[in-house]
């Protein structure tokens, strides 16, 4: 590998020897093409006319009134597929095309990344296999159906806890046996180098646009940027636009599930410890021996016992702050945004809103906060209905 892929002590590429050439190949292709004019033009055209970029920065006036300060929503929920995931899939999918790979594989938890990969597989006419925990296959059957409609094969993973981390395990195992013709389209800003860097790059339009839109629409930079963090791809995407603006606070919100004092949460940066999983040194939820814990959270998209290594670094360096919101606060926030703005936010994104709503009365009225509304909540209506039946 050309680079070590480190963010301070975090990151790296802790993988079996057999995967090293495949990662080297992706690293090499990424650095060859990511600034290549033809690649950039092709990707920008897809961002614009396939995915629907740029997305609006929307001043949520009634939500702002409720909070007592200004809230702006970066509307990634309006993208094709309903979430920011398409940004990364277009970028990596195009890279796979340039590399001459014929097959895409991906892991998915809630199904959003699986769906985005299936869409891009159809777009580029590539064979696509989606690895998904068997429990997730059941609870996200609508997304499974959509993936199949796009021509992808969905492989239920029965090992371990039958959720996202096990889907990653099986995708890695499959990749090990098919490294020569297969591109692993990794969904979050985690995993082994070069994925954290690749995913951040392809998600960076969120931050670049948001910064420009702030200057155009508000005339100044925001005071804070808030995003939910599971693996952390939407967060690193929007943070990347503001990392050098020291006056802008960066806040990542993790899932406190039923509470960080229980075992039912996924607040990795809040209460985890440093270890090595899925190719990266980062914070993990684990026991004293290093066995990885199961996680639980109302939004399947945050349900992961690790976190992207750059977030671990931003936490340690103090550049970003990581907080959490529990399931109840998240449902409250979901309902609030529906009622006040007529927007259904994804339960993942509702974590970011939940924390911000909790700042009501604590922030000066001139505060400007930008929330990354990373996805839409249509997929979550059934889950919300179960917890909060509509009267």
């Amino acid at each position: 590998m050309k680079e070590k892929g480190r963010f301070g002590q975090f990151g790296g590429f802790y993988v079996p020897e057999v995967l090293i050439p495949a990662l080297e190949e992706i690293e090499q292709a990424f650095y060859k093409f990511y600034k290549d004019p033809r690649f950039v033009a092709e990707l920008n055209e897809l961002y614009k006319n396939y995915a629907g970029r740029p997305t609006p920065l929307y001043h949520a006036k009634r939500l702002s009134e409720h909070c007592g300060f200004s809230v702006y929503l970066k509307r990634e929920d309006l993208l094709h597929g309903g979430a920011h995931k398409v940004n990364n899939c277009l970028g990596q999918g195009l890279l796979a095309q340039y590399m001459g790979k014929t097959r895409l594989i991906a892991e998915t938890g809630a199904g959003q990344h699986g769906l985005a990969t299936a869409m891009i597989g159809a777009l580029f006419g590539m064979e696509t296999k989606i690895f998904m925990g068997s429990i997730d296959v059941e609870r996200q059957n609508v997304n499974v159906h959509k993936m199949k409609l796009c021509g992808a094969e969905v492989i239920p993973v029965k090992g371990g806890t039958c959720t996202l981390k096990d889907a990653i395990n099986d995708a890695l195992r499959y990749w090990t046996a098919h490294v020569q013709d297969t591109f692993y389209l990794f969904g979050t800003a985690g995993g082994p180098h070069p994925y954290p860097t690749v995913v951040k790059h392809f998600q960076s339009p969120i931050g670049t646009e948001a910064r420009r839109q702030c200057l155009e629409q508000i005339g100044r930079l925001p005071d804070m940027v808030i995003a939910c963090v599971g693996g952390g791809s939407n967060a690193i995407g929007i943070f990347s636009g503001f990392i050098d603006d020291k006056s802008v606070k960066l806040i990542g919100v993790e899932g406190a599930g039923r509470g960080v004092n229980t075992t039912h949460h996924c607040a990795t940066l809040n209460v985890g410890t440093v270890g090595v999983l899925h190719g990266a040194r980062t914070y993990l939820l684990q026991d004293a021996d290093g066995q990885i814990h199961e996680t639980e959270c109302i939004s399947a998209g945050l349900d992961y016992p690790g976190v992207g290594p750059e977030h671990a670094f931003l936490k340690e360096s103090g550049r970003a702050e990581y907080v959490c919101a529990d399931d109840k606060q998240v449902l409250d926030a979901f309902e609030l945004v529906c009622k006040k703005e007529g927007i259904l936010p994804a339960l993942e994104s509702s974590h970011a809103i939940a924390w911000l709503v909790g700042q009501k009365g604590k922030l000066p009225p001139e505060t400007i906060a930008v929330v990354n509304l990373s996805g839409r909540g249509d997929k979550d209506v059934g889950i919300v209905e179960k917890h909060r039946p509509v009267k």
């Binding site: 790296g12 050439p21 090992g159 195992r173």
Partner: protein, 267 residues
Amino acid sequence: MKTYAQTFKELKRSAIIPFFVIGDPDYDTSLSIVKTAIDAGADILELGIAFSDPIADGPTIQKADIRALAAGMNIKRALQFVREIKNYKDIPIGLLMYYNLVYQYGVEKFFNDFHAAGVNSVLIADLSIDDADEVLAPAKKAGLETVFMVTPVTNDERIKLIASHTTGFIYTVSTLGVTGARQTLSNMVKPLIKTIKSITDIPVCVGFGISNPKQAAEVASAGADGVIIGSAIVKIIEDNLADKKQMLDNVKNFVAAIKNATAPNNI
């Protein structure tokens, strides 16, 4: 403590190296299984410590990991297990495991404690030669030998680099993919052994996908210094969970058959 070098030198044939997950299906049965394999002719042991997320392993070893963890296996008990095996016979033991377990225990302390218990080497499946800096100095300090993997997609330059950091043996992965029994031996294995042998004198042991005496004999006749058999033998445990006597008999017969098939006058 017997070293790998002494073992290879004494043997004058391919070493038979069965792999077991420590504590599968439970501590006491596991101890009997490993002792049985030693008595049946194992020359070196490859032992795994169960991990929740074994990305280099196929379904058979994954299930063994789950059985061991469910029966209460942890690092402390694994140490005790190694000591008990070592008291039974002075046989070289290589650990094969995942980095996070070593990392949480503390690399130096892990290497010191397990070397003191009788382990010769610790092969970390998800730590490549690129990050060997994290383990080489502590391994040397603890007195451990080093073992790294070479695969069919490792280029010559990298094989040289890997060999230069290896003091025990090169763990040669016979095929692309994870651990698991396979119907036929990969056609990549013979050229790979030849390539490695042309680059280094470090002993070459071959594993992944070797499932029966015939395949073991092929690997031995291709010049491997050791034949590592994992999933095929762990499957015997899985298939006989209800009948421990049968389990031990089958392990004994399987190891003996491998040993016999790879004897110099049979290959």
